[in-house]
Amino acid sequence: MSSHHPDEVLLMEYSAGSLSEPMALCVRMHLEKCSRCRGQLDMLNSLGAIMMDTSSASHIAATHSAEDVSEDLFSTIMNRLDAEQATTTTDKPAAKTVSTSRLTPLAKLLGKELEELPWKRQLGDVSVCDISNYFGTGERVTLQKLVAGGRAPAHRHGGTETTVVLHGAFADSNGVFEAGDMVVLDEHGDHRPVALHGEDCYTLSVLTAPVQLTGRFSRMLNPFIR
């Protein structure tokens, strides 16, 4: 089980469906490893159902008019289902193969193993693969690889960076982060992650604003970390 979780406010925005796709992906990759947050999300979804129920009820009470759904609409739905049934009895949709449905959404998106990605070596121990183009949300979405035992240059974030560990582990002044762990750093965070356990550490990061470097290679490194 993971020990660094998204806070309840972030988890609620996930439950409500209001996060951007890259942020939702981070939360989703955390949930993959964290039964605690899956349980919490179950309850947040129950809260969502209650909100849907009570909000429409109080709207009805306030306006004295229900948001009616007509019998006509119901007939339309039934007709669609009947038509569908007529065509699918002979041509059933193929069941998803187990191997595909077990893949995480990130694995499906990339279509290959993390090791096989076109990594761009940055300074020393760090490589990066920019996947922002998959999303087009204006956020900077990157995969990062820190080689076993390697250390990333010290940097500070100009905006908010949300990171989830995909594989391996790293440590910085905030603690130890294992697979599934999630960390949100704002502009006050200044960290120098080190990969642990003698294996490469892969992370997924979403950055909402550029990073400032605090080390001496700042100019050179800016493209990588930003």
Partner: protein
């Protein structure tokens, strides 16, 4: 170890642990009306059960679309959600979620899907909405301890009635209007920290937040 199990076992501190079979039977008895209807749709394509679900949830889904400023798509959303309910009812497992929660997640995903499709062509959608927003492990054979889930859900429902208006307003904006906490703060002209603390107070009261010492 399951979270909900631990949480509710804290509440039942001092009581004997109910044997699993007995707890399953008790949970079975406390299955709510809508979950029973949904099961009938799943097991036997029961059209009258489906119609009753439509009458109950249809207006909710429609209002959900209206709250999102999707008035022009409200009926389409109702239609898409109802069709999904029919298609997937065989997968519904009352031990994992109440019908209302299950339907909420379908409505939420359909809404996200419709908005995504408006923005770009489906061929450009690199990730399935479902993959991104569904709890991993759904559809797998690891149901939550059903009685505990039902108790937790009922507790949320009961204590929700006692939440102060200002907290309900924030929750409604997040869930019904899909606003981030930052946007809610801007709209209400209050600091982000205040919005977050209202949310946390509400979640604490509803016992949605698990305290670390419970784990």
């Amino acid at each position: 170890m399951n979270v909900i199990h631990q949480q509710t076992s804290n509440i039942n501190k001092g009581q004997n642990v109910t044997p699993l079979k007995e707890s399953t039977r008790r949970a079975e008895r406390s299955k709510d009306h809508w979950s029973q209807l949904l099961e009938r749709v799943g097991h036997s394509q029961d059209r009258s059960a489906y119609h009753e679900l439509y009458q109950h949830f249809g207006p909710q889904i429609k209002y959900y679309a209206l709250s999102n400023g999707l008035a022009h798509m409200a009926e389409e959303l109702v239609q898409e959600v109802m069709i999904s309910i029919w298609r997937r009812a065989t997968l519904y497992d009352w031990r994992k979620a109440a019908a209302s929660t299950w339907i909420f997640t379908i409505a939420r995903n359909q809404r996200i899907d419709m908005l995504r499709k408006q923005k770009r062509s489906s061929s450009e959608m690199a990730m399935e909405t479902e993959d991104l927003w569904q709890i991993p492990g759904d559809g797998e054979n690891d149901p939550l301890p059903s009685l505990h889930r039902i108790i937790a859900e009922r507790r949320i429902r009961d204590s929700f009635k006692h939440l102060p208006e200002e907290q309900v307003t924030v929750l409604a904006k997040v869930y019904m209007e899909h606003k981030s906490h930052q946007i809610v703060a801007n709209e209400m002209g209050i600091p982000l920290g205040t919005v977050k603390s209202r949310v946390r107070l509400a979640l604490n009261k509803l016992k949605v937040i698990l305290q670390d010492q419970d784990l």
